[in-house]
């Protein structure tokens, strides 16, 4: 099969990912790329609690994800790769040149960020980072759930 989505969501594995994407796409695995969670057994247990039988939760550091990315693409199951922030996404994309499309699914308000979409808040630096990704040929869209329209970067990063 292939990876269905490479998603950025600061809530990591949560209902919208597991149910909103997991059910309609028939996900077989979710690969959470996060150095902090990768090094914390109890956090992995916590996130695993929200994953139903039939979906494997994989926890990987950025380096591990870069090494395993091809295997995930070739996996017979449908997969979703998840990062919690744009910095991690960029670190992953630097090591995985074949990454061609990313979806912003939930980046919430923090000081310095302004609202771009109901579920996407970005600082000016983060907008610049995403534009840089686009210049490298990576399609950047925002889409919280599969039934919503995928909004191109140009529409929400003005």
């Amino acid at each position: 099969m292939s990876l269905a989505v490479v998603r950025v969501d600061d809530r990591l594995i949560h209902g919208q990912v597991v149910v909103g994407w997991g059910q309609p796409l028939g996900l077989g695995f979710i690969a959470l790329v996060d150095d902090k969670v990768r090094s914390s057994g109890w956090e992995q247990d916590l996130y695993r609690m929200g994953v139903p039988p039939g979906i494997e939760a994989i926890f990987a550091s950025v380096d591990e994800a870069a090494r395993r990315y091809d295997d995930w693409v070739k996996d017979a199951r449908i997969g979703l790769v998840l990062t919690g922030d744009i910095d991690t996404l960029i670190a992953l994309s630097d090591k995985v040149p074949k990454l061609r499309r990313v979806t912003l699914g939930g980046i919430h308000h923090k000081p310095g960020r302004s609202e771009r979409l109901r579920y996407v808040y970005l600082t000016a630096d983060e907008v610049a980072q995403l534009r840089e990704l686009a210049k490298r040929g990576i399609e950047v869209v925002a889409q919280d759930v599969p039934t919503a329209r995928a909004v191109p970067l140009a529409e929400f990063a003005k």
Binding site: D10, R11, G15, E43, R48
Partner: protein, 127 residues
């Protein structure tokens, strides 16, 4: 009742507020439950919101789903504070109605009691 447990209900969207309103309406007990929504929050801000709702005393945190952002925030608070906070998942109205009348128990006991009460309410009635 100043040493009574506080119940904090954490949910997606407006579910927590609706559960608290319903529990207060049915029980007549006001102020025992505090609703928290995850609307518009990342992990850090949701954790802060839950912490504010808990306050300084012992509490049971009722979470809607057995996974996800609400649970993650509640468990992180319980681990960080390391005192008198129990977490229950799968919140329903029946467990809240039982809880508001048993807030003199230690948090772990109140949590177990809530789980039992909530579980007993899930049935298939005879047709």
């Amino acid at each position: 009742m100043s040493n009574s447990l506080r119940g904090v209900v954490v949910s997606h969207a407006g579910l927590a507020q609706s559960l608290v309103t319903a529990a207060e309406t049915i029980s007549g007990v006001a102020g025992a439950l505090v609703p928290v929504t995850n609307e518009g929050c990342d992990g850090g801000s949701l954790k802060a919101r839950i912490g504010e709702a808990i306050g300084d005393g012992p509490a049971v945190v009722f979470v809607d789903l057995p996974g996800g952002s609400c649970l993650a925030g509640a468990v992180r608070i319980a681990r960080d504070q390391g005192r008198g906070i129990a977490v229950v998942t799968g919140v329903n109205l029946a467990m809240l109605l039982d809880f508001v009348f048993h807030r003199d128990l230690p948090p772990a006991e109140a949590a177990q009691r809530a789980v039992d009460a909530g579980g007993r309410a899930i049935r298939i009635p005879p047709a």
